[in-house]
Symmetry: C2
Subunit: 383 residues, 2 copies
């Protein structure tokens, strides 16, 4: 899938070893309306600090995004902020644009390390000269511990909505997620675009977690170049929601070391926000996640996590199913078939259904299991 | 250490395999004043529900506690509550006491499974006949995945304060912790005792975490039989605080699969509660815990966790040391000696010092690292 008016490039700038792709450039032929959601972490990476300023100044005139993996350029002080500015400046120069064009910057990888700016400069130059490449290669260039590139697309009337995402660890988006870039040729006013992104985020990136850790660089950006003309806002919201949900699930299910794709349905909460909070608490519980890794129907850990979510409900009205197998019914244990439970937990796709029986609120949350590989990957990540 | 007027017993009731101790009985010769703190989890185990009633009715007349490991008797419905009541009734009968004597019950282990009551009955009978045993054996009988028994003692004037604790997983006490029994011969009014326990809890069990998961059965109980006479309340509070802190550290450092003992000092927060919240967020971060396991000075994960603690501070005034090695200073990275960092992280005792530079609040939090063994232990716990 390609979106009319956008061209992408992916190169090996030399940040990753072995010639792997590590720098992506997204370029629009015409000015774009932009909307973004950033991390809520108090520590905000230099690219996030920079992009907030770009967005304030150029919300209707963003034309490029340059993204590197391997080094996050976070917790790098004023020098790191200058590096982010320099990346945008070089991109603008390579594309022969003036100061009035907005260029955004994203970085992901190790925190607290300065970018190798000579490599970045050469990488931007090479990328600018090779635009028009396979979008999947750009999705590959922004990967860190991801095992596969993540893209999704949907149609909104005559317009296309396409997105790519990266993220496998430090995933617990709080109003935003890891790096997400969504492109569309729909014509959408800036305020409608931002509102649609908030709404889509609520039921996608806010509903995934890998390890409960939020990143200083979480950014979700949408660029709309308008080439396909006006699109009904409701139709556009639906398409954007589909793309965000697909990317969010791909991120959650590609969690570091993941062997199971876990979907948690919570219903019966007082509100959707309460249901999401319960779901996220279950999804971050190391005990729930290790039990699923071990294919152990240890459902007591699921309800214990629900009970500490900080959300009120009556434990005597709570019921839990593993897939379609009831294990806990209105506050009481159910004698269930252990062989059937093992069979269900041996599948890659595992679903939990918790009804807390206290209201109309429901939510779906996606996560993965916690495996020895997660520990190994993260014990060695920086070195 | 033994406390005058208290006798303990530990037996193998047959819940654990291979003749391991699994049932403990604590008996006071005279009526005790009791204070307790229970889990804040919405799901409260049958022993917690039962003990709350005992405490309300017998706050100045508790004389025994019976404790089993292996099965938590939580999420077991009305039948489980009847089982807890039955345990107290059997204990009272074996000790030839009337209904007016308070007997408390604690259980720890798998959630959602009924207690094997025939074994429990025989175990209580045997324990009642073998009182006067080694207190360390009682501490051993209440262990689940703990690798060692945990006891601590301190003097409060003429009185002794002794305690035992169990806990190695599902540790993230919220106003209480796993099972803790503290015995003293000090004479302390009930309200003073309860207040002293709340205060001690704030700087001990509330400052530890293993995995962020709270248990439905968390209980911390103090029994004071008064045989040593009146003790100055300040002196008693200090002694109780010492015992609680020691037990809390032992629990944190014996976390499932732990290889490092991690102490996190946070200062410069607006309040002690804020400092504790920051420390607990760092201590629950899987990325921080895996980096410490991997002896990797990946300090960006520490500040990222601090930045999502939900507590306001200025990131530009934050500084971090690993032991005495500065790695981050007032919002900027410090060029540090990697070999020295590896040396510090290779020790069993690891300390982090975070100053957020925004106020007088400080706290110390204890935890352990996250290792492949934690995953293995919890993938197989129930089976």
């Amino acid at each position: 899938v390609s979106v009319p008016g956008f061209r992408l490039a992916a190169v090996h700038a030399g940040l990753k070893p072995n010639g792997q792709l590590d720098l992506a450039l997204v370029r629009s032929d015409t000015p774009c309306t932009a909307a973004a959601i950033f991390t809520q972490n108090l520590f905000q990476g230099a690219p996030v600090l920079f992009d907030r300023k770009v967005l304030a100044a150029h919300r209707r005139n963003v034309q490029a995004v340059v993204i590197n993996s391997k080094v996050a350029n976070a917790a790098t002080g004023p020098a790191g902020l200058a590096d982010a500015e320099q990346m945008a400046r070089w991109t603008r120069r390579c594309l022969a644009w003036g100061e009035h064009v907005g260029v955004m910057v994203m970085s992901t990888g190790v925190i607290g390390v300065r970018l190798p700016m000579d490599k970045i400069q050469a990488g931007i130059q090479e990328a600018a000269g090779s635009l028009g490449g396979d979008p999947l290669e750009a999705a590959r260039a922004i990967m860190t511990t991801d095992t596969r590139p993540k893209t999704a697309s949907a149609q909104a009337g005559a317009a296309t909505v396409w997105g790519m995402a990266k993220g496998a660890g430090m995933i617990h988006p709080d109003m935003a997620t890891m790096l997400v870039v969504i492109l569309t040729d729909a014509a959408i006013p800036a305020e409608v675009l931002q509102g649609a992104l908030y709404a889509a985020n609520d039921t996608s990136f806010r509903c995934i977690t890998v390890d409960g850790d939020t990143s200083p660089n979480d950014t979700c950006l949408v660029l709309a170049n308008g080439l396909a003309g006006d699109v009904d806002p409701t139709v556009f919201r639906t398409a954007l929601g589909e793309v965000c949900e697909s990317l969010a699930r791909q991120v959650a299910f590609d969690g570091e070391g993941a062997r199971h794709h876990v979907t948690i349905h919570v219903q019966g909460a007082r509100s959707a926000a309460d249901a999401r909070q319960i779901g996220r608490t279950i999804a971050t519980s190391p005990l729930v996640k290790t039990a699923i890794f071990g294919r152990d129907a240890n459902w007591g850990r699921v309800i214990s996590a629900a009970g500490r979510a900080g959300v009120p409900f009556d434990p005597l009205t709570a019921s839990l199913c593993i897939d379609d197998l009831a294990v806990f019914d209105k506050g009481q244990p159910v004698a269930f078939d252990e062989a059937r439970a093992l069979e269900l937990l041996s599948k890659t796709e595992v679903s939990l259904h918790l009804d807390v029986g206290s209201g109309p609120g429901q939510a779906t949350v996606w996560t993965c299991d916690l495996t020895p590989e997660y520990v190994d990957i993260n014990a060695a990540y920086r070195s």
